[in-house]
């Protein structure tokens, strides 16, 4: 490949950036706080894809990029690299999740019951256009129950194992410091399961949905049923210098188990992410469920879906096509002209 150095675009580049930022105007702490409080699900999505949990930084990234999600995730991932890793927390277990929402589409009577939590699943989707005419939309207040919901619930899979429907997996005893980490090691195939699940946790929501949807529509081997969907808060369990474990705070997490019948048992697919993002978890768990034995190059094949749902790489590759390709394109044109001229000199004999 050949490169040609050019100059002359400095002013245009600077003015182009100014033009982009001028549309957003001044960014203030108030604006960042407003984004944070008004759009928690967008903040969650950005934090999950950036694999960096901090609502303030996510809101700032959205403010600074005008809501371009790929740019927001990119700027957060870049910022993340400036920070030292201080500790690896103790692994989050399902039984320890402070649960806000837990439903199963597979079993009506799961232990702990069906708790809908915050959702629009059963609501009419009607745009509140009156707001635009000056009438504020004030949501009706929740009528709290007189007794609290149980804060902690076991996983549905644990209950199914008691009923001989699934085989409970052996617990992974890997020390937290030794858990494979795709931010520090290359993703190689066949992928380690820890790499697969981490990659899905930070995957692009739209990408995971597109490929997961392909599997759901019939291009996968297994039709998913949501065994358990949970929105919760996890304690970040860290260590004091004298060894005492404590929680440095809670973070929102979502997880999905999807299930399919396999012989006399049920087979599970799993996914979880930072923040509350149900579509991504169900889609990613569907990919996990379908990946075993998937044909090479299919939507549910591990290498295919892990590469193509990595949002920063895929969006970066896509937008790099906007950058000058004058030399490579000219070279293609040269080859095309050359072939054309040869063809006109030596016409191919008729068949």
């Amino acid at each position: 490949m050949a490169y040609v150095a050019t100059r002359g675009g400095e002013r245009a580049i600077e003015q182009a950036e100014r033009l982009f930022r001028a549309d957003m105007g001044k960014i203030t702490a108030e604006r960042v706080n407003e984004i944070k409080s008004a759009m928690p699900y967008l903040i969650d999505r950005v934090m999950g894809e950036a694999s960096l949990y901090d609502e303030d930084l996510a809101a700032l990234a959205l403010a600074q990029t005008g809501g371009d999600l790929y740019e927001a995730v990119l700027v957060l991932r870049a910022w993340r690299t400036t920070q030292p890793r201080l500790q690896v927390a103790a692994p989050v277990a399902q039984d320890d999740l402070f649960t806000h929402r837990r439903i199963s589409a597979a079993f009506k009577d799961i232990p702990g019951g069906q708790v809908l939590g915050p959702t629009l699943d059963y609501s009419h989707r009607i745009l509140a256009t009156d707001v635009l005419n000056g009438t504020p939309f004030t949501p009706a207040a929740v009528e709290p129950s007189s007794k609290p919901a149980p804060a902690y619930q076991p996983s549905v899979a644990a209950w199914q194992a008691e009923n001989d429907l699934v085989d409970l997996p052996k617990l992974d005893e890997t020390h937290p410091d030794d858990i494979p980490d795709v931010t520090r090691e290359p993703l190689l195939f066949p992928s380690k399961r820890a790499h697969t699940l981490q990659s899905l946790a930070r995957s692009d929501t739209g990408g995971a949905l597109a490929l997961g949807y392909a599997a759901m529509r019939g291009y996968g081997q297994a039709h998913p049923t949501v065994n358990e969907l949970r929105l919760a808060e996890a304690e970040v369990m860290v260590k004091h210098p004298n060894g005492t474990s404590f929680s440095a705070g809670r973070v929102k997490v979502s997880q999905a188990e999807v299930v399919s019948k396999k012989g006399e048992k049920l087979e599970l697919g799993f996914s979880a992410t930072l923040g509350w993002n149900e579509v991504k978890c169900i889609s990613a768990a569907t990919l996990d469920l379908n990946s075993k034995g998937a044909p090479k190059g299919s939507a549910t094949e591990e290498e295919f879906y892990l590469y193509h749902t990595e949002g920063v790489e895929s969006s970066g590759f896509c937008i790099h096509f906007k950058l000058p390709h004058y030399v490579t394109f000219q070279s293609s044109l040269d080859a095309m002209r050359d072939a054309k001229s040869k063809k006109s000199i030596h016409p191919e004999p008729a068949e």
Partner: protein
């Protein structure tokens, strides 16, 4: 099982930054000389266990602020979510004060007050969640 020290640190990490800072600041003159070893922001990687195959994997990193102070052989430590270094330092000061027996009564009262707030917040939250429980009726 949570120890009292573990519970105290968990409560302090969850406490409101302003309350923590104003209480922690008042301890500085009483504590006397101490060494500040760390006052920084950084990341904590959070792993999770998969229920399908039991594998531990990384969910992602959480931004935290950390403070580590030392007086003699005693370590005061603060780590909490977010980038408020002063709040992490205040947590470390209260942790140290409790260990070296400085303003113990006031510190314990502060921790107890914060714990009551957190319990009330959790209770309210869970009552709102309970309102969304489906009372399934099968026909």
């Amino acid at each position: 099982m949570a120890t009292p020290h573990s519970e105290t640190l968990t409560i302090l990490a969850r406490s409101g930054a302003e309350a923590l800072k104003s209480f922690g600041e008042a301890l500085i003159p009483q504590l006397g000389a101490l060494e500040v070893r760390k006052s920084q922001t950084g990341l904590v990687m959070v792993p999770m266990r998969d229920t399908a195959q039991g594998t531990s994997f990384h969910l992602g990193e959480v931004l935290v602020s950390e403070a580590h102070i030392v007086q003699g052989e005693t370590h005061g430590y603060g780590m909490r979510r977010g980038r408020d270094l002063e709040a992490a330092m205040a947590m470390a000061l209260i942790d140290l004060a409790l260990q070296v027996d400085v303003a113990r009564q006031e510190c314990s009262a502060f921790v107890a007050e914060q714990q009551s707030k957190h319990l009330a917040e959790d209770h309210d939250c869970l009552c709102r969640i309970e309102a969304t429980r489906v009372d399934m009726e099968t026909f």
